[in-house]
Symmetry: C2
Subunit: 246 residues, 2 copies
């Protein structure tokens, strides 16, 4: 994460630490993995005490040890890096490439909440949107419950459409999505909600008759493969602009 | 590693990639660990093809897989981060804190070579010093051979004196070092050679009657503890300036 790119220059360092760890745990969640620990690189600078506070909060909240890492002192924009290590106790870890024609496409939770939180005029309001932006929650339990029954899974870090597109492309299939079913935080701005990242919900495919162990909304069907990896029943901008490419 | 801090702004990106991975493998070497793989964060920018070339060279040279990571695009100074994962097949991994009074203190190889390489007028001369600076070699085999017989071990990344000081401090003992025995690349500049980092040799302590499985120079004895963690038979600057603190 880079200051000015992934976090605001005036972000509370405690929130930076939380997000740094949480988004990496979210990647473990998408593989149904249990965290073993994290390692992180921290750019020293103003607010280091707050960074450590946020770090302690997120680590104790998810009962994850800090295994190691490094501190550096640089010039210019600060940067943070985190590696999360996890393990699974089942053989088939969900890949991006496992979606099969006939699968149903699902997504958990609500999309666009982090976007609304970032745009809130009042900082640190403690609203659901504010917390979604500042303190994203990796869906570790949900990922573990889903992993054995899904065919493909990712966390939504770069926007639903872009991440769905990536699964479809890796699986060499087509996703036919029905925008009326998208679970969005702001129905007036569907497209913004599904092209904005930072929600850390789980998008996955499974056989349509599979019972789901967690709440999720069905948003489409896997077909194809044909000429497009992603098909949505409304005008969408160029695929390259589907989400936040970085 | 940060551009302008740990690597020159005009460094060949292939050398940056090599060093990024090699210095992390060197940390595994100091624990006697075999590499399982690396994960890295790369700041995209000019010379990315060269970066990938250097990455392939170092990974194939040490037969280490790239397990994952991330790419980011920022502004200002670029930064790179690497996590190396290793495993050992013995129980007692050498710690910093294991040095015991009566131990002999040893260091492998020659110190200051990377410093001379960085100062060479001709870039990429291919000399031993140039390669020590641009293409440091993690002592994986040496570390594995030494790990079962040492009481404490570190790689020399921040200068012999600073890293020896750290072992002594963590072990709550005193290191009595004899500067006449320091294996330095430039005898005219002993202090520079033992306070400059980037050599990635191994400094360790072991019982003095232990047979060593690799070539190493004895540079002193563990005593104390007394008032000082490090004692050298010559004037040395303030301990805080013993090496490159970053």
């Amino acid at each position: 994460m880079i200051e000015g790119v992934h976090v605001r220059a005036d972000e509370d360092p405690a929130d930076i630490a939380w997000k740094l760890v949480a988004v990496n745990l979210s990647d473990l969640a998408a593989k149904g993995a249990m965290p073993v620990g994290v390692l992180l690189t921290h750019s020293l600078g103003p607010g280091d005490e707050r960074f450590v506070e946020g770090l302690q909060e997120v680590l104790s909240n998810y009962d994850v040890p800090l295994l190691g890492g490094d501190t550096v002192r640089g010039t210019g924009a600060r940067a943070w890096s985190c590696t999360a290590i996890g393990r699974t106790d089942f053989a088939a870890v969900p890949a991006r490439s496992g979606a099969r024609p006939g699968d149903a496409v699902y997504v958990t939770g609500s999309l666009g909440l982090a976007m609304l939180g970032m745009a809130e005029a009042e900082r640190n309001s403690g609203s659901a949107a504010d917390l979604a932006y500042r303190r994203p929650r990796p869906l570790l339990a949900e990922g573990r419950a889903l992993a054995p029954i899904v065919n493909a899974m990712m966390d939504v870090s770069d926007g639903l459409l872009l991440d769905a597109f990536r699964i479809a492309q890796a699986s060499r299939v087509t996703f036919d999505l029905d925008s009326a079913t998208f679970p969005v935080a702001d129905p007036e701005r569907i497209l913004a909600c599904v092209t904005w990242g930072d929600d850390y919900q789980l998008v996955f495919t499974a056989a349509p008759d599979r019972q789901l162990p967690v709440a999720a909304r069905r948003i489409g069907t896997v077909t194809g493969p044909d000429s497009a990896a992603l098909r949505v029943d409304r005008e969408i901008p160029d695929l390259a602009r589907l989400g936040f490419e970085h």
